[in-house]
Subunit: 147 residues, 4 copies
């Protein structure tokens, strides 16, 4: 792992997450922000369901993309922001749980591009079941810190 | 294009969409359902925003995935349901518009797997700007119609 | 489409292709190099086969990646080189033909990242059958022209 | 991990690999075949190079796709064959080594679809450097064993 480029990464990430209306809308929280790793949690409630009562695949993709993007942001310099260029996600099981946890991790922190992965787990009585696997490319926008 | 396998595909798709809490949550509508093609629209409102005031990439991914999945469903037999196996999406421009339109299309309708694409456009005064491009794999679950 | 950034793009692309040992190895040619579009052709011979006698999926991926990468290169400035960051490919039919044609196209030519697609066709008596669909991200390395 | 569905998986995989002209062409070998895991090795020689003298990205993709596909085949029933439906690969560093090792692994072995990943390493004096990361979907063709 690379040395920490922004000593205040946790505050920067929390401040950015706080401004995302879409994360509030789905009742997501960001309880874990470490260097190269974050977690987004979403409770299972009717607003995030698809037609069979599981959590919607779009919500699964949304928190996978965001968790991995914020993992990348923890390794970006203080004056930079990050942008999700693209991602690919496999849905490996129905998102059938009391809550979902998306864990994003940095695989390779380049200067311009950061490669990340995320796993999304459905949690039932603290038993985690893998429901999605994502691979993502993040671009670092140097000198363009978030306002 | 293949012959129509389910003459009531439009009703089946509309009924499924109607049951998705997550689509209601983001205020999405499904105004276009044709054989091999659907459109999902989302107005720009603060509940779908990210930290810069654009529509959240997760919402873009969510409607791309759903529009293409429903395009696949229009070509599935009456007694079958469809499942989004995986997708890959490139974000090509900020989702900066009064509303978003996701257009899903079937590229190759196989018996077990259907390959689709979706484009997401940001719309300003009826001018459309491409903001995302998606490629997706759908599995057809024969004999497992949605309830 | 953007204006032409490198008036000698066809020569630059041809010179780069000429230096790729792997393209010679599989007997690939590059008969089409236009602004934003290239074609790579590979004859069907036993050196590119998989276990069923079709062309190997790896060869299909290889020419899709290269055709789209060279399409991106036609739109890069004279002093720049291009790098394939990532791609995603769906195999939609067996590569069963007398030859394969990979057609790469630029979808969105950004300054740092260029988004492309490629289609690969199996050709039998000039009838083309789609066998693969690819979506790719290319990075432009400014000031790092190929030697 | 699932129980072993085909006790002769190693022989089945080796026999299939042996019939792939394209693997011979690039001088690939398959020295590791375990339950849920395989390795393909390719020496660095001029026939697999791109224009800068590194191993061609297409070769990297080819061995990643094949190693993960064969990892899936180790978990398929005796009477079944496997098909690479799609994959997504990130190139994270130049393939600059004396040889390449692609390690394919099964992540989730479903009945119809198997989800896999592969990592490709460039090896220099037994030091391995990650150069690519892949995520793949494999379809199991029941009752269609390879001849």
């Amino acid at each position: 792992m690379r040395p920490i480029a922004n000593p205040n990464f946790a505050e920067s990430v929390a401040a950015s997450f706080q401004k995302q209306g879409a994360m509030h809308l789905i009742r997501a929280t960001l309880p874990v922000v470490e260097h190269g790793l974050t977690e987004i949690h979403v409770p299972h409630w009717d607003g995030v369901e698809q037609q069979h009562g599981f959590v919607h695949g779009g919500i699964v993709g949304m928190i996978a993309d965001s968790a991995a993007g914020y993992a990348a942001m923890t390794m970006a310099p203080a004056g930079a922001s990050v942008l999700s260029v693209e991602y690919k996600i496999n849905m490996v099981a129905p998102a059938d749980g009391q809550k979902l946890i998306a864990r994003g991790r940095v695989i390779r922190p380049g200067k311009t591009l950061i490669i990340t992965t995320a796993e999304v787990f459905a949690v039932n009585d603290s038993k985690e079941t893998l429901c999605a696997l994502m691979q993502q490319t993040i671009m670092v926008m140097h000198g363009k810190a978030e306002k």
